[in-house]
């Protein structure tokens, strides 16, 4: 029994990071109505840029390296929109999807070009897990959980308590109507991209601390984020949060029942089934509170 509870705990921690990825993806979908395939590359770039500031020649402490990394990732996210997606916005969502697939391939290979294809790590000394009543949690996992909760709490307060959040939610609800009401579209679009990039980068950094860095980390986790987005109903921020948690838990509990090689299949199968049978999301009832 405690074995399953331990898996559940691991699942919640992994899921909180997936939630960070999913929030940005679903916001972009909610406002711009297209699936941003290169969202995964923001995850990768966030992690690699942190590694860059953390290692020589910079050798900054971790918390200091994360800040410029997130800012630079936001710059990448914003320029994606400015140079590529904005000129294409009037077209078909497929055109945007093809462009984002091309862009993601480009950015991923740029990572390989700069930092090489090998596995990299932050080289933390292996630490003993902390024990809480028979369950083990590493210090990094605690950091993951608390950082995710911190970011998501800020998002919650921002979206519900500020005028900025209101304008964002209004735009996600109905772009034309929001524009008619005088909400500044360039400002909304900039904040969506910055939010999506910073959250993706934060998640990427946390994931890299727990596991390692490799050029494909973004693509793998994009699939999970996408499954979370679909679970929650595309465009629904709170749905994506729950979806992320669900994927994390399902994946980690799944390990108890079938070969770990199929861990990633959980997210794939979920996407496939959801698209076919519940395209509006499992939590479609929640659309009223997005």
């Amino acid at each position: 029994m405690s074995y399953y509870l331990q898996l559940l705990l691991n699942g919640v921690i992994a899921g909180s990071v997936y939630a960070l990825f999913a929030v940005g993806l679903t916001l972009v979908y909610g406002v711009f109505r297209f699936i941003n395939f290169s969202h995964g590359e923001l995850i990768t770039w966030g992690a690699y840029l942190t590694l860059m500031f953390y290692t020589p020649p910079f050798s900054w402490p971790l918390y200091l390296s994360a800040i410029p990394a997130m800012i630079l990732t936001a710059v990448i996210g914003f320029s994606q929109d400015f140079f590529i997606y904005r000129p294409l916005r009037r077209g078909n969502p497929i055109t945007l999807l093809i462009a984002s697939i091309g862009l993601s391939y480009m950015l991923r290979n740029a990572v390989r070009f700069i930092w090489g294809s090998d596995l990299r790590t932050f080289d933390f000394p292996p630490a003993r897990g902390l024990e809480f009543g028979g369950y083990y949690v590493t210090g990094i996992q605690l950091l993951m959980l608390s950082a995710a909760v911190f970011f998501l709490a800020i998002l919650y307060l921002g979206l519900t308590r500020t005028l900025w959040g209101k304008s964002l939610r209004a735009t996600a609800d109905n772009l034309e109507l929001a524009a008619i009401m005088g909400i500044s579209m360039p400002r909304v679009s900039a904040s969506v991209w910055i939010l999506a990039s910073v959250f993706a980068a934060a998640g990427g950094i946390l994931l890299a601390l727990d596991t390692n860095l490799e050029p494909f980390m973004g693509a793998t986790n994009l699939i999970k984020a996408f499954a979370a987005v679909l679970l929650g109903g595309a465009g629904n921020v709170w749905g994506a949060l729950l979806g992320g948690l669900f994927i994390g838990i399902a994946e980690n509990l799944g390990v108890a029942f079938f070969s770990p090689g199929y861990k990633d299949l959980v997210a794939f199968a979920l996407i496939f089934l959801l698209l076919l049978f519940r395209p509006r999301g499992l939590f479609g009832l929640l659309t009223g509170v997005r």
Partner: protein, 293 residues
Amino acid sequence: MDYILHVLILALIYSIFAVSLNLELGYAGLYNFGHVAFFGIGAYISALLSRAGMPVEGAMLCAMAGAGIAGGLLAVPALRVTEDYFGIATLVFAEMFRLVCLNERWLTKGPMGLPGIPRPAWIARGVDGLPVYLILTAMAAAGVFLFVRRLTGSPFGRALKVIREDEHIAQAFGKNVFLLKIKTIVTGSALAGLAGTLWAHYISYISPADFSLTETILVVLCVVLGGRGTNWGPVLGAFAVIFFGEAVRFLPIPHELHRYVAPLQGVVYGGILVLIVLKMPNGMIAEHRRNGA
């Protein structure tokens, strides 16, 4: 000389692959981002059968049939969703296929892949067989090209274009849209399976890594670069992409910089795809449309 034959064979196989995707993507407007799965299914079926002792010709036919059936089985549920969601559903299908190949070691030997896939008995092994294999591939490519040209020039092809532009109009004219789409995907998948089997028997070694998202991006690039919804576009695109990939090898690059070549090539491929979508959405050969519509 042998090297030129090798590049030509690769380009012809990719032409078949691109033409088959163009049937779905260019003519019917079905954005199949998991087309590489059918290339892979064809390759694996004929590799497994021929390694088990079946004559290569029979294995190739089984591979085409298998890929076509798999296409139909995917299409029936996947066509419930449209446009970008269809793209994602097919993309996810391709990744699931790759994961299964990676994990079912008893069948596919997992990441080690399947070595020693034989060529047809009448084609010599190694370099000596290249000219004959080139003729085989060229005949297959010409056959596929003529077949698809005939198909798209027929009422069937015109119906597909109507579906691409507006499904409801096609319905209003009494076309069974669902059935037409299924037929398109089955045909496209079988042809992709043909490309896959030609590739497997030529390279003689396959592994799950050969059927990743990278190959999907390459073949989409071939079609979009060459020109969607045209007969020659995907062929031209495939030759351009393969020749560019091979030409990079001849750049005078010092040995210690070699690790930069493949990533740089990826950056260029991705960049070209983005640039075409932005600046040249019709590709190198634009589709002929009356009334400038």
